[in-house]
Subunit: 364 residues, 2 copies
């Protein structure tokens, strides 16, 4: 099928670029002796998880139990649930997953650990745990230092759990003029001090995991970190470009849209709004633009409602007609993937793959 | 089933409040002799569309062909597609829908009308059309005046289309201190002048449709408007409250969440972020808060990532523990419904209904 036959709006994935992205990061991890455990929240497709494993990833990462249930079908030997699992029914479901793959959970409270231990005991399972540390983002995670030591001591005491190490998410580092180097150095200092504290307390952290796509290629600069779990790198998006971690040519996914109205001078309306792109603004700056138009980089995607994308075309340098097809590189591809039932993989102008987004909408 | 047995995050609908909302608007429309054609993008559930028809709605409104395909199963005799349908395959699908219900399409270009006319001819169907007018929102719609007259004259010439009237969406009116009265008066003046222009040109607009939930109860003040198509009123949300069109007690839908982290002092993390609520900010103000916590109205839902909701609880006046269940009234219920596979209807504390959100994710 020719790409123009796919009804819009649709996420289209350039397979050549995607495969290059996958290989580049697999090689980077290998070169720097970093274990790679990709976060699959970006693609949500077991076939792509399998590809990541085949390229050398040690396992896969998910956020929710529902995603674990989907992603275990990729055949991965190892799953990290990078989110505390709270509630009896969810824990029972997780123990089912643990029959098919080794499961590790990242958490930051004794309450979460105790529930997990109880569920593992009932299921006669062994579950790995990572202590979640706040390395500066201010989201989840205990403070490095005394709080962390206390959490780990509690984890080590709980039956059916094995303490594997620590994890943190440096989502507060978004690149910038120096590619985030100064902040990476600061992160390195935090991690170094934390690991020294653990050593003094006689605690061995086998896994020291962190990383994000914007900081990806600086990971080897954080001494002691031995595992990375980037997600976005498989496709990349406008956020990744703006963070300085890739170029637009490295963006494998774009959303194909159609112009549906040109009634207002200087503006076109495309058939994708927040239901297609999500209303996520550009990270960091908070700038209210919603993607880059490939065919008109100087047009500005200024606003969206559910089904309407507003593009200011006064400086676009071209005309538009109702029915024109355009490609948009979204701000944030992960949330866009979650809005689409299926996505298309193409090479040249031929659609080669139709993938159901099996991990879409797994909220629980 | 007791409501506490439903895994979080989940949209829970208080059926008593929902039914009261439906009856109130049905009565308002009847009292003021306004035809009611609810927009079903809010609920996306055919069973609820059927309820709206049974309460006197003349038909239902959808945005996309995929929604029309779902909503026609409600048994509605009449469907308005309030969005231009562009592209051959979509038009073929729409003609299939037109075999089961009378279909009307709102559009603002001759290009869209011509495609529609061609498809109707091929399918030997008769399709109604509404001329979309920009009544101040600056999204879609031709300018009232000469542009509108030209569009209508073109519509009247195209075979297999029957010109039914005009429609506009006053989404720019968001209430405020005077409940939007001044802006409603301005809208009334625009509509009045437009209708006078049509009369002078000898054009009869059988349907003059507009309205939104925020302006809902002012609709009778816009002389000449005879049809309204509000969507949100079935559930209401924080936007509706802030616009002054309802009270929090009229919000039928809330999202039940669980506290998953309290590691950072003064903050809790709940298990719903942009994948659960959408990242839609509060309308109008652009204020970056993401919903109202029913159990702690003074807590501030300040930020979200995909799976994490950040709530500032420094002024909440209560403590929180990992595992606590909370209810959140979202900013924008329509986009939240689009993120959930199923939703739950309850009375008192008993779940009476599990509805699949059949119209969810219908982007094409």
């Amino acid at each position: 099928m020719h790409i123009s036959e796919i009804e819009t709006p649709a996420i289209m994935i350039d397979l050549d670029i995607m495969e290059r992205n996958l290989r580049r990061v697999a090689e980077y991890a290998r070169h720097h002796d970093l274990r790679l455990r990709p976060h699959t929240k970006t693609h949500k497709i077991p076939a792509l998880g399998r590809m990541q494993i085949e390229l050398g990833a040690v396992g896969l990462t998910v956020a929710k139990v529902g995603e674990a249930e989907v992603m275990v079908t990729s055949g991965t030997p190892d799953l990290l649930v990078a989110y505390p699992v709270i509630g009896r029914r969810k824990l029972e479901r997780l123990m089912q997953v643990a029959r098919a793959a080794r499961v590790t959970v990242a958490l930051d409270s004794v309450a979460a650990a105790r529930q997990l231990s109880d569920a593992a005991r009932e299921a006669q399972a062994a579950i790995g745990v990572l202590a979640e540390v706040d390395a500066g983002m201010g989201r989840v995670g205990v403070a490095p230092g005394e709080e962390l030591l206390q959490l780990i001591r509690n984890l080590e005491r709980l039956p059916h759990l094995s303490f594997e190490g620590i994890e943190f998410y440096p989502g507060h580092i978004r690149g910038g003029d120096d590619g985030g180097r100064k902040e990476i150095d600061r992160l390195g200092a935090v991690v170094g001090e934390m690991l020294a504290g653990l050593r003094r307390a006689g605690i061995e952290a086998r896994i020291v995991g962190g990383g994000s796509t914007p900081t990806l290629f600086h990971s080897h600069l954080v001494a002691g970190m031995n595992e990375i779990r980037p997600g976005t790198y498989i496709f990349n998006d406008k956020n990744t470009v703006v963070a300085g971690a890739c170029a637009y040519d490295d963006c494998a996914a774009s959303i194909h849209v159609t112009v549906v109205s040109i009634a207002r001078p200087g503006q076109i309306i495309i058939d994708g709004g927040s239901k297609t792109f999500s209303s996520d603004r550009l990270g960091g700056a908070g700038e209210a633009t919603f993607g880059r138009l490939v065919e008109a980089p100087d047009a500005v995607f200024v606003k969206l409602n559910e089904e309407h994308g507003y593009v200011d075309v006064r400086r676009a340098g071209r005309d538009f007609a109702v029915g024109d097809r355009l490609r948009v590189i979204p701000n944030h591809i992960c949330v866009a993937m979650n809005l689409h039932e299926q996505v298309y993989g193409f090479r040249g102008e031929t659609v080669e793959q139709v993938w159901k987004v099996e991990g879409r909408g797994k909220l629980q």
